[in-house]
Symmetry: C2
Subunit: 352 residues, 2 copies
């Protein structure tokens, strides 16, 4: 579990040079940029490649297939129940790599800071990134920082990119799905989006709803270790389970039938969605995966995922079918059927 | 030479869905995000890895050392004489890789767009990225797009990351510099910064000053092909030649003596700097490199660089010395000496 860090408890670790906040010069490539590197980024991320301070990090890799991913993070607010932009930025890219069947190795981090951002707030974000990287087993080996004027940013935007090794024999993708395959999800959906919304809108729920931000690497490794012939992996982030499954159906040329009653949603998330008129199927998740596996391997796959703390509630939620190619159909609780559509945009902007 | 592209000549290639501008939904992961991918990014960047549309691109790499770099780009304005944020974003990361001695292979591109950005403006930026990638011989294989509300961005911020292969036997870094080594620069300095400044401040110069944005890969390959024992490579971007050389001196534990009269500055750049009270040594370049090479290989190295269109004006500008470690000293035109210092911030913010 992530250790709780309160950013207000932080003593600012930087020589202040007259300012406890980010100034334009922190992005200028001179002494102030050097301060950030020496006193903030290096101590937090410490590793050999980063400490070489080159324009690029040089790392060793085995021959073979490499996964390469990037994700921009603009979540608002920067801190929320269960996490911050720091954990999201690390886990987002780690999970993009894991969904390609890769073992994530190295991350880059690029910061676009807004003039006036408090340095202790930045320090808290960076420390949370470092913690998330440790938990995911990756190193942040290279980075960049730019500063924009007040009113041209929102505190802190972070783009991470990552590389990971795809072990021989692993091949995942929508084109590998077959009619009859089982559709699995690793746990409850909607937690991240509702956690963000609750703090953004100042809503109070009976029990706190926390973001599920987490690295999915352990779940993926358990699936492959159990010799499951994993056809496809996706993490249902922006656009939620709906966008992920519609995209899978469209890309595979097959249909998907979902069992509404089987889809795990925490009661407080369901309640919040009803209150706010939101569809849990369209809400972002940041620590869940959808796996398509052969019908007869559904049970071993679920067992494998349930062995991990973040996969305890893994369940089967549907089936890949040859009928209605490109379309996702949901069997509803009262015996009806409805077509699940891809949202046009997003119910909740700036969710990650 | 980059073909001139006028963004106002562009017909918007997107199904508009009622809007010729970026709306929040373009960052939502639904149909509108899909539109951008299908109708803008894929046609411009077209390659197999990107077209697989996975969360991560999967690419083959040989065993060995890989360079990995990232750069955020927040330049203002987005278009300027000689280039745009698009060329900068590609060349910036390509050059970070080249400065590690690597051959750049693959890039990622992450866009943070501001609500209200004209789609034809984005299309022009993307097309210029595609052109720059072709010229640099790299493929943009993966990406991400987020949208922030009006007043929380500045049209378009782009972070690119890249990977490249470091061929066996190449080893560059400040620790390889030796007293007596020659300090070379591949051409005139200050062009990029003054080009940006001229358009930002609405200044008119007698002849247009253009950004030097260009990939440095050809220069680097020519140096190694000429069997030069390249000790160190750096591109003097933010903070200019001053920041690059002071950092080299500090990291190598050696001193540098520069010959002011030898440093190539275009007369119109020199004139603009005098007018504005700027020091050309501290102004950003986006298509120049500094190479440290053994004394007796200075001439072959210069000849190698001069064989490339962007290296015609390559010259020796100084010497690495054992005296005054960590310090750069400039011999001035009138026979004096002054210490070159690292700027605190940047004379020109948002330069790249």
């Amino acid at each position: 579990m992530p250790e709780p860090i309160r950013f207000d408890a932080w003593a600012c670790p930087l020589p202040l040079r007259d300012s406890p906040t980010i100034v334009m010069g922190h992005g200028g490539g001179g002494r102030l940029s050097g301060d950030l590197l020496e006193h903030l980024f290096l101590p937090a991320f410490r590793n050999e490649a980063l400490e070489a301070r080159g324009d690029a990090a040089v790392v060793g890799v085995p021959a073979g297939r490499l996964a390469f991913a990037t994700d921009a993070h603009v979540v608002r607010p920067l801190f929320f129940p269960g996490g911050s932009i720091g954990e999201l930025a690390v886990n987002g890219t780690v999970n993009d790599l894991a969904m390609a069947g890769a073992r994530p190795l190295h991350l880059s981090a690029s910061f676009i800071l807004e003039e006036g951002l408090a340095l202790d707030r930045l320090a808290a974000i960076v420390e949370r990134m470092a913690g998330a990287a440790r938990r995911a087993g990756v190193a942040i080996v290279t980075g960049d920082t730019k500063v924009v004027e007040r009113g041209h940013g929102d505190g802190c935007y972070i783009t991470t990119s990552g590389i990971g090794v795809v072990p021989d024999g692993r091949s995942v993708g929508p084109e590998r799905a077959r009619a009859g395959d089982a559709v699995l999800v690793s746990g409850t959906i909607g937690d991240h989006g509702v956690a963000i919304l609750s703090v953004r809108e100042g809503l109070e729920f009976e029990s706190a709803i926390e973001s599920d931000t987490a690295p999915l690497t352990d779940l993926v490794e358990r699936l492959f270790a159990a010799s499951v012939d994993v056809r496809t992996l996706r993490d249902p982030t922006r656009g939620g389970l709906a966008a992920t499954l519609v995209e899978l159906a469209e890309r595979s040329g097959l249909g998907v039938v979902l069992d509404e009653g089987a889809i795990p949603v925490r009661p407080e998330v369901r309640g919040a969605c009803e209150l706010l008129g939101l569809d849990p199927l369209m809400i972002a998740n940041e620590g869940k995966l959808v796996a398509i596996v052969p019908e007869d391997q559904a049970e071993p796959a679920l067992e494998a995922m349930r062995g991990s703390a973040i996969g305890r509630q893994a369940v089967r939620i549907g089936t890949v079918v040859a009928e209605h190619p490109g379309t996702v159909v949901m069997k509803t609780g009262i015996g009806g059927r409805r077509v699940v559509t891809l949202p046009l945009g997003e119910q909740l902007p700036r969710i990650c």
